[in-house]
C-alpha cells in the first residue's frame, strides 16, 4: 500500500486518502479521454487530469514517489511519441483511401460503427489518445521541472 513513514511528505491520513483517490482519478481521466467523442472532454481535459495524479503524488508523498512511477526522461520521450503518433494518424489519411487528404477520417469511411457508441467516429478517439499522452507528459514535465528541480551553475559561470 502507501508508504506511511511520517517524516516524509504529509501526515498518514492524507497519504492514505491520496492513495485511494489516485486510482479513481486516473480511471476518471481515462474515461474522459476515451469517451471524448460522445461526452464533453477529449484529449486536452483528460490529459490534464492524468497529469494531476502525479501532482497529487508529489504534493502528498514527496517527489521520489512521483519519480519512481514516471522518471523524467520517460516523460520527455512520451511527449515526443504522442506528437509523432498524432502526425502519423493524420498522414495516413493521405494514403489510405483514394483521393484522401491530410486529416481524412479513413476509419469512419471504412467502418462507421454505430453512433453514440465507443467504437464510432473513426480516427477521433485515436487522436484523443495521442493528444492526451502529449498533454499529460508535458504538464508533468512542466510541474516537476519548475517545482522540484533547482538550477545549478556550471564551473565557468
Amino acid at each position: 500500500m502507501v508508504d506511511i513513514t511520517p517524516n516524509r511528505g504529509m501526515t498518514p491520513i492524507v497519504k492514505t486518502v491520496a492513495g485511494w483517490v489516485r486510482g479513481i482519478t486516473f480511471l476518471f481521466g481515462l474515461y474522459i479521454i476515451l469517451f471524448g467523442h460522445i461526452t464533453p472532454g477529449g484529449g486536452f481535459a483528460g490529459g490534464v487530469i492524468l497529469a494531476l495524479v502525479y501532482v497529487l503524488m508529489t504534493l502528498c508523498c514527496g517527489k521520489q514517489k512521483a519519480f519512481e512511477k514516471l522518471p523524467l526522461h520517460w516523460a520527455a520521450e512520451l511527449d515526443s511519441v504522442g506528437a509523432i503518433m498524432f502526425l502519423i494518424i493524420a498522414w495516413l489519411g493521405m494514403w489510405s483511401i483514394l483521393g484522401g487528404s491530410f486529416f481524412t477520417n479513413y476509419i469512419a469511411r471504412w467502418n462507421p460503427g454505430l453512433p453514440y457508441h465507443i467504437f464510432s467516429s473513426g480516427t477521433i478517439p485515436l487522436c484523443n489518445i495521442a493528444i492526451a499522452l502529449k498533454v499529460a507528459a508535458s504538464l508533468f514535465l512542466i510541474f516537476m521541472l519548475l517545482v522540484t528541480t533547482k538550477v545549478v551553475h556550471g564551473p565557468n559561470e
Binding site: T39, G42, F44, P115, Y116, L145, L146, V151
Partner: protein
C-alpha cells in the same frame, strides 16, 4: 451590457501589465487578459434560451440546430486556453530564472539593456 463587463476585465489586465512593477503581478495580469478574451469568445456564441451543444441520442438534428448555442467558439476557446497555459508556463520559468540571476522581482532593477 455583459460585453462591457468583459471589456472592463480586459482593461484591468492591461492596466496590470502596464503599471505594476512586480514580475509576478505582470504575469497574473497577462493571465487575466487572456481569460477575459476567452470569456468574450464564448459569449459571442450565446443564443437566448439555448442549451449546451451536446447532442443526445434521442434528439433530431433539426432540433439541435434550432436550440443549441454555437459550438464553434467553444472549440476555439479550448485551443486558446491551452495556448495561454503554454505561455504562462514559459513566463513563469523565465521569471524564476530572472530572480535567480538578479536577486529581485522588481522590474525597475532588471534594467541592464538600455539605449
Amino acid at each position: 451590457m455583459h460585453y462591457a463587463l468583459v471589456l472592463m476585465l480586459f482593461m484591468i489586465g492591461l492596466y496590470g501589465v502596464v503599471v505594476k512593477r512586480n514580475l509576478i503581478k505582470i504575469i497574473i495580469s497577462l493571465v487575466i487578459m487572456e481569460t477575459a478574451i476567452n470569456v468574450f469568445i464564448i459569449m459571442i456564441g450565446y443564443r437566448s434560451d439555448g442549451m449546451a451543444p451536446i447532442m443526445q441520442q434521442t434528439m433530431a438534428p433539426e432540433v439541435f440546430v434550432r436550440t443549441s448555442v454555437d459550438p464553434v467558439p467553444q472549440a476555439l476557446v479550448l485551443t486558446a486556453i491551452v495556448i495561454g497555459l503554454g505561455v504562462t508556463a514559459m513566463t513563469v520559468s523565465i521569471a524564476m530564472r530572472l530572480y535567480e540571476r538578479y536577486g529581485t522581482y522588481d522590474v525597475r532593477e532588471i534594467r541592464r539593456l538600455r539605449g
